[in-house]
């Protein structure tokens, strides 16, 4: 992440967002969605820029992390576990469609799936922590505070998106 903070090749961010766009265009063929995939993709962009500006404003209050450029790179790379989880989930939806049964194979699959999901979530939290650390240059407790405040904003926002049938789990 230290090297990523020094990047200036915006094509990398373009590639990551292209992968996300391909996902939303593809998932529309697997499952009916209430909204057009481009609108869902637009909200991914809103989530991304919202996360960046939330963190940037906090850093400005502490007078650290002056340049905005590292934020774009760090938070785009921090979306990689999210991208993997959504792709994995949509492939499993086709290969092993839910609901799962309370049989031995169902329980084994559940253990494996939850292990993978928790691993990706842990990786996501680590990348998010490193993104905030290298972008804002703040220390542990300040980053913890950002995390708590961010989660406090994220929860009602996620509920709103769920009620609007945009996302069941927000793509951040």
């Amino acid at each position: 992440m230290r090297e990523i903070a020094r990047e200036d090749d915006f094509l990398q961010i373009g590639i990551l967002f292209t992968i996300i766009l391909i996902y939303y265009l593809g998932v529309n063929t697997i499952r009916d969605t209430a909204w057009h995939p481009l609108i869902q993709f637009l909200f991914v962009g809103i989530n991304y820029t919202g996360t960046i500006f939330f963190t940037y404003i906090f850093a400005q209050i502490h007078r650290t992390g002056a340049s905005l450029r590292p934020y774009f790179f760090l938070f785009s790379y921090a979306m990689i576990p999210t991208i993997i989880w959504f792709y994995m989930n949509s492939l499993l939806y086709v290969a092993l469609p839910p609901p799962r049964n309370i049989t031995l194979t169902g329980k084994v699959f559940s253990l494996v799936f939850i292990t993978l999901s928790v691993s990706l979530l842990t990786w996501k939290i680590l990348l998010w922590y490193l993104a905030v650390r290298y972008a804002t240059r703040l220390k542990f407790y300040d980053i913890l505070l950002i995390g708590v405040l961010f989660f406090a904003f994220l929860l009602p926002y996620a509920l709103l998106l769920y009620n609007l049938s945009l996302f069941r789990i927000p793509f951040i």
Partner: protein, 81 residues
């Protein structure tokens, strides 16, 4: 760092710039700071070596606590994309 890297002043300077670019974390309570550095030292090198077994342990603990409801949770997550 190998010998070539340590004997090259440019690499050494760049490495020192990397190390000194951020103020080290201080959790204001020495045992906590020591624990933090111990955990992060492991996670910097090969994080999945620790993340995957810990995640499996968490999943097993969930199963031990909630039993077959874990299967319903999996179905819920599978619809979550």
């Amino acid at each position: 760092m190998n010998n070539a890297a340590t004997h090259n002043p440019k690499n050494w300077r760049s490495r020192m710039d990397d190390i000194l670019s951020l103020e080290p974390n201080d959790l204001m309570f020495q045992p906590l700071t020591t624990a933090y550095k111990l955990v992060t030292r492991r996670l910097k090198v090969w994080p999945f070596l620790y993340i995957i077994p810990l995640s499996f342990a968490a999943a097993a603990l969930l199963y031990a606590t909630f039993g077959s409801s874990v299967v319903k949770l999996t179905s819920l997550l599978q619809y979550g994309f």
